[in-house]
């Protein structure tokens, strides 16, 4: 087993917020099986806040722990706050990641941001069509 921190192992053993939210307001997908990892984040937004967030992950121990950590960090935050979550912060919150696993942490925040951007895009379109 790679040398993962206790925090990584804890999230890997008990991953939080697995799945897909019903009728998501935003969806963000990153990665592909060729590179080894895939993540799909779905979010529910209420009053500019991330009311619910879930994910599906195909990937290694680090990828699963990163997804779980990102979901915890994002829940309840405003969209602006959530967009500010960086991959570096996620890795730090997890007590660090082995050098060759840092790329996994890059996917987590990216997938979340994509889901938020997807929501914002849809909002723009619906605002336009209603005006």
């Amino acid at each position: 087993m790679p040398e993962y921190s206790d925090k990584v192992m804890e999230h890997f053993t008990n991953p939080r917020n697995i799945g897909e939210v019903d009728e998501p307001d935003g969806v963000g997908e990153v990665g592909n099986p060729v590179c080894g990892d895939m993540m799909k984040f779905t979010i529910k937004v209420k009053d500019n806040r991330i009311e619910d967030v879930k994910y599906l992950t195909f990937g290694c121990g680090a990828a699963i722990s990163v997804s779980s950590m990102v979901s915890e960090m994002a829940k309840g935050k405003t969209l602006e706050e959530a967009l500010k979550i960086t991959n570096k912060q996620v890795a730090e919150e997890l007590g660090g990641l082995p050098g060759n696993k840092m790329h996994c942490s890059n996917l987590g925040a990216d997938a979340l941001h994509k889901a938020i951007e997807d929501y914002l895009e849809k909002e723009k379109i619906s605002a336009k069509s209603s005006s």
């Binding site: 087993m1 790679p2 890997f12 053993t13 991953p15 697995i18 799945g19 897909e20 997908e29 592909n32 099986p33 060729v34 590179c35 080894g36 990892d37 895939m38 993540m39 799909k40 994910y55 599906l56 992950t57 195909f58 990937g59 290694c60 121990g61 680090a62 990828a63 699963i64 060759n100 696993k101 790329h103």
Partner: protein, 398 residues
Amino acid sequence: MKEINLDYAAAAPVDSVVLDAMLPFFTEYYGNPSSGHKLGEKPRKALEEARKNVALLIGAQPAEIIFTASASEANNLAIKGIVKAGKKKGNHIIASSIEHFSVLNQLKTLQKEGFTVTLLPVDRYGIVNPDHLAAEITDKTILVSIQLANPEIGTIQPIDQLTALTREKGIPFHTDAAAAAGWIPIDVDKMGIDLLTMAGDQFYGPKGSGALYVRRGVRVSPIIEGGIQEKGLRAGTENVALAVGLGEAARLAYEAMPERPNKIVAIRDKLKESLFESIPQLHLNGHPEKRLPHNLNISVEFVEGEALLMRLEMAGIYVSSGSSCTSQALKSSHVLTAIGVPPELAQGSLLLTLGVESNVEDIPYITDKLAQVSELLRNMSPLYHKYLKEGNNNARVQ
């Protein structure tokens, strides 16, 4: 907690008979086999006895065995040694695309140095087509190196059909038998092999023990120069204890043939059957029959290997994977890629290798645990959810 090793190809315990045979040569019989006096006598005799036992395992003559410190070293001596000795004859080398890195990386270097290297493709089971070899041999070919069996997918090559082609042209044929020696019967004469690599740690000998068989008359240059130990092909004071360990392991493997491998095959096949019965969307990598007795390589569709490996470790089961995430280079197995396993299935590959302690009683536990962790990881896999939504129409054909 219960502990089950299903990664014996990575490491296996040294047989206690082997260890007992080795130990006196560290202390009591510490002499140098090259000494002219009495202290060298016993070690020298032991070294030659070991050579005889190693030769017996592969149907060779004792004088054709060169002790090395690993199979990687033996592969280096074979390839570099042939190339150095045969430079004037040509600059073309042929190997298969699924060789071990101790072969492939040397060939990469030789290519940079101006040699022409042909890597033969393999079929979906990992087998080299003799016609492909025949088509690639030229007047400039100085070496063909094709493994006897693949350490990862266990596929055994039709070696006599391949050597028949080099033999008629007088081209030396090297086979990396690190994964095969001690597990399947080998006769270098009948199989037409000119050079053969083996590793003691693959059949209950110590790590650090290997050998290269070089057929009498085949010209090889040394890569370690110095004294005239090992017929001048490997300088340095002989590691008598390790050589004794290899010899003893070879003797035991020879005596246990075919009972030991047959016993393991039976367990392996039961395990395979049990896993395929209990876990849907499981795929076998490698040939269904032409494979090493202790090797099982499967892909769990929709999930990634490192996550599987970690979850199985939590259940006390130790396995290995061809996933890119488990490799330091972050590349998925070149072997699985060469046999056409799609990337997502290569990521979910598990290499299970059985050994001495493997038994049928553990099979239900292994099956339950793998079924559990597969389900758990599938439930969080976007690929699995996609598959469930799109129905079975897109499912891979077993």
